[in-house]
Amino acid sequence: MGMEGIGARVARKEDKRFLTGKGRYTDDMVVPGMKYAYFVRSPHAHAKITGINVSAAKAMPGVIDVLDGKQLQADGIGNLICGWMIHSKDGSPMKMGAWRPLAVDTVRYVGDAVAIVVANSVAEARDAAEVVTVDYEELPAVITSVAALEAGAPQIHPEAPGNLIFDWQIGDGAATDKAIAEAAHVTEIEILNNRLSPNPMEPRAALGVYDEAEDHYTCYTTSQNPHVARLVMSAFYNVAPENKLRVIAPDVGGGFGSKIYIYPEEIVCLWASKKTGVPVKWTSDRTEAFLTDAHGRDHVSKVKMAFDKDHRIIGLKVDTIANLGAYMSLFSSAVPTYLYATLLSGQYAIPAIHANVRTVYTNTVPVDAYRGAGRPEATYLLERTMEVAARELGVSPAELRRKNFIRSFPYQTPVIMNYDAGDYEASLSAAMSAADWDGFAARRAEAEGRGKKRGIGMSCYIEACGIAPSQAVGSLGAGVGLWESAEVRVNAVGTIEVLTGSHSHGQGHETTFAQLVADRLGVPLASVNIVHGDTDKVQMGMGTYGSRSGAVGMSAIVKALDKVEMKAKKIAAHLMEADESDIVIENGALKVAGTDKTLPWFQMALAAYTAHNLPAGMEPGLKETAFYDPSNFTFPAGCYIAEVEIDPDTGKTEIIQFVAADDFGNIINPMIVEGQVHGGLAQGIGQALLEEVRYDETSGQLLTASYMDYAMPRADDLPSFKLSHQNTPCPSNPLGIKGCGEAGAIGSPPALINAITDAIGVEITMPATPLKVWQALQAAQPRMAAE
């Protein structure tokens, strides 16, 4: 591997600029004549707009213009769309309501954008926004998914009667019902998956620049996928044709899914720039982020898991209601369907599975993919059910899992996925020995002596990364292909630029992608530059989400490197008068195997560009492009164990230890992988113990609109994690890698809740706040005393 190649713990190249405050984010961008936007937003969860008066606002100092939804509509700007078509089980297409970038006649959640003010400063724009008068006729609102489906619930979109977007199913219902009917034991449980706000450190921002001379638009924005943004804005929103629109996503400070989507603000800033003749910049503040960034999760599910007399799972039936909020965000329909129900087999051989998923509109922020996207919901449901089943059956949670593990690969699940490789036993054993599972009873007894309640819990997760084979997702309704592109440019002096369609917003691509090139070509890491995030520089690409940059993005680079290598060898063979098949690349040189003939890498590159002496018919230059379309998903899996201690006086949970044993396949940079796991665990622990978006269920006001009320995990909420890696290389991509960005957030919530319920002996929902744990203990006390 070498000091800088695959497998090396190379310090991140990008950290110097991030840690010294030299990163360049969208809000740092300054263009001549730039002005500032402030959005007028709905204070109501649901209301008709009966009038908008902007004349006072327009007269305010520093104001350039105030624009509303009618003007936007008159200019032909289209509706925001959901890009993944789902059909209900009756064959009807999903019922998508209209989402105007600026509301025209109805607002559907608190924060819905109504008008934009452009002024010389943010403060002046905000002053003017305060005097825009919008006349609202308030309508009743509905907040929870269950209430939205009830008869007589407020109707949110005329297109979706009863607020039902689709009623979808997967798997074999009859076979599953039969398994349940014939089961020796059925575990039934209701699962709630709490609603979360993604909270990237950098809030969303957009800078729209219209150049009248060229009739051309530039959009700087906080995006995980600038090419997709350009595609959607030109193909659907009618902002500008693709060749007239450049999208730049510079340094982006975290996304966690929330920056995949194209939001109203970037569209409106681009349009407003043309309308006003000045570049228009908008930066969200933190409360605006809570109010308008797409939220995650929010599922209510009923589960039945059927076992035979030997404790083998023979059937799993799931009924889920997913809250999609007030509008269908870009991938919102895929998250509770193909990213969720297809993982319901978990690590287990389950012959019959059936899941029914209903998605509903409510008067809340749109809900879409958030770190893990569907897989945390599946894992939480399955691993909580397994735990409850083990308790009901009186067997150890590890034994129940072991008994049901899939042990031979490839394995076709009843819910589409074909697992290619894995060794679930390896991760389970590694985790149990790291946690000293067998010594737990003694630790529990010791804690009891101190009046504390100890619990231990595990979770065996599987997830699907590296999305995704384009043909497969196309057949399931995706509006795009999910391949990735790469271009490798070898300069005349031998240095290298890699242009990738992946986008780094914290993942460390500038380092790991360079490590791949250094490893392959034997050049120093410092001579490799990674270019991404600008549609004018990089050819069409699909961006970063679903832990796809390694498995898909790097595989595209491998393909381009294959071509570069082939041409480089041809040139070297020609110059050294050797056979092409005898050329090897080693330590920055091309060598003729078995001889002392050698050609430094840079001389080969120079020869490619001087073109004085190339093989007959060869084109000058050394630059290759590749598109890589994966043939399957990848399947990271692992076992997480949490041990907690609960203070029964206050209900507070302390995490004593947290063990994560992950199989990510081959690893490019262990340090970066550990960082990804740490971050994922922090978010998963946040979901399990602290985080929850809450709305007032009558008024629809967001109650958790700042960090005063939304509890983010902090360093002292977390233990030092014990990590280990098992490795079954992924057979479907050239690097054998699976993806590691989301695992931490996927596997950890059920491990924690299993540990907490083990400690307190009663069920609890996430987040398991001290209040809820205390209440659960109080409620259980009379019963325990009576027993």
């Binding site: 403060a123 409360t287 206050t650 958790t704 960090y707 005063m708 009320d709 706040t769």
Partner: protein, 265 residues
């Protein structure tokens, strides 16, 4: 934030004069509450009178058991004062648990006591220590000073210059932080001294900081954490919000009081 005028006062007299010369002027101390409120446009003072350069409002003096903490003293200074630690470590412990390091290096005791946030830590110490709030014009005893949520005995333009108290024989503070804000979901300060046993509760009362008289009586009879068994805390007067029920807070009052007593020794 709306436009505002900034003034820097260098003495108590100058500060009071600057403050009274404008209708909508406000004192600015650490700014940890006021500036945030202004940024959210929930406060819009026309003028800010910065107190941070008034030398007489700074610092901690301990003479025998008499303690004086200047209103402009930061939480970090209180937390780390060895003079204070030697006579009343509980208040240092309290200050060290306020917010985060940034907040502790900016925020001040005067600002906190003037603001009287129902979940702030200091009001419990001031009340339990039977402290005196010294202002530019008078001295106000703690029992008269706190008048409800964000409400105090301060008159318009009245400036807190110091907090004084007689160091107790024993004192302790225990706080159960709100998981989100880390303010006190319930905090209890107990003190035993010349004025008897005083127990003050913050974060829990629907009317701001209050004295838990039943616990005071029990602790006066016997200074030990056994009181928990005998005392009932009435949830009726306690706050209900998304983070805690009155019943949970009532429980926390007892649990935190017990821990505060244990800390006091």
């Amino acid at each position: 934030m709306y436009d505002t005028n900034y003034h820097r006062a260098s003495s108590v007299e100058e500060a009071v004069k600057l403050r009274s010369s404008q209708d909508e002027a406000r004192y600015l101390s650490g700014g940890m509450t006021l500036i945030a409120t202004m940024k959210q446009r929930l406060a819009a003072p026309s003028d800010l009178v910065d107190l941070r350069h008034v030398a007489s409002m700074k610092g901690i003096s301990v003479e025998g058991r008499k303690v004086r903490i200047g209103a402009g003293t930061t939480h970090a200074e209180v937390a780390s004062s060895s003079a204070l630690k030697s006579v009343c470590p509980a208040i240092c412990h309290l200050a060290g648990m306020i917010g985060d390091p940034h907040v502790r290096h900016m925020g001040t005791i005067g600002g906190s006591v003037a603001n009287n946030d129902p979940a702030a830590d200091y009001p419990s110490a001031v009340l339990a220590l039977n402290a005196t709030v010294v202002t530019d014009r008078r001295e106000i005893v703690a029992d008269d000073y706190f008048q409800g949520m964000f409400d105090t005995a301060l008159e318009e333009g009245e400036l807190i210059t110091a907090i004084t108290f007689e160091a107790p024989e024993k004192a302790g503070y225990a706080k159960f932080p709100n998981p989100a804000s880390r303010y006190a979901l319930t905090g209890v300060f107990v003190a035993k001294g010349a004025s008897g046993v005083r127990v003050a509760v913050t974060g829990a009362g629907s009317n701001g900081v209050f004295r838990a008289t039943d616990i005071e009586i029990a602790l006066s009879a016997s200074w030990s954490s056994d009181f928990v068994a005998s005392v009932a805390v009435d949830a009726g007067q306690l706050m209900e919000d998304m983070h805690a029920t009155p019943e949970y807070r009532a429980n926390l009052v007892k649990v935190m009081a017990k821990r505060a007593v244990a800390m006091a020794g």
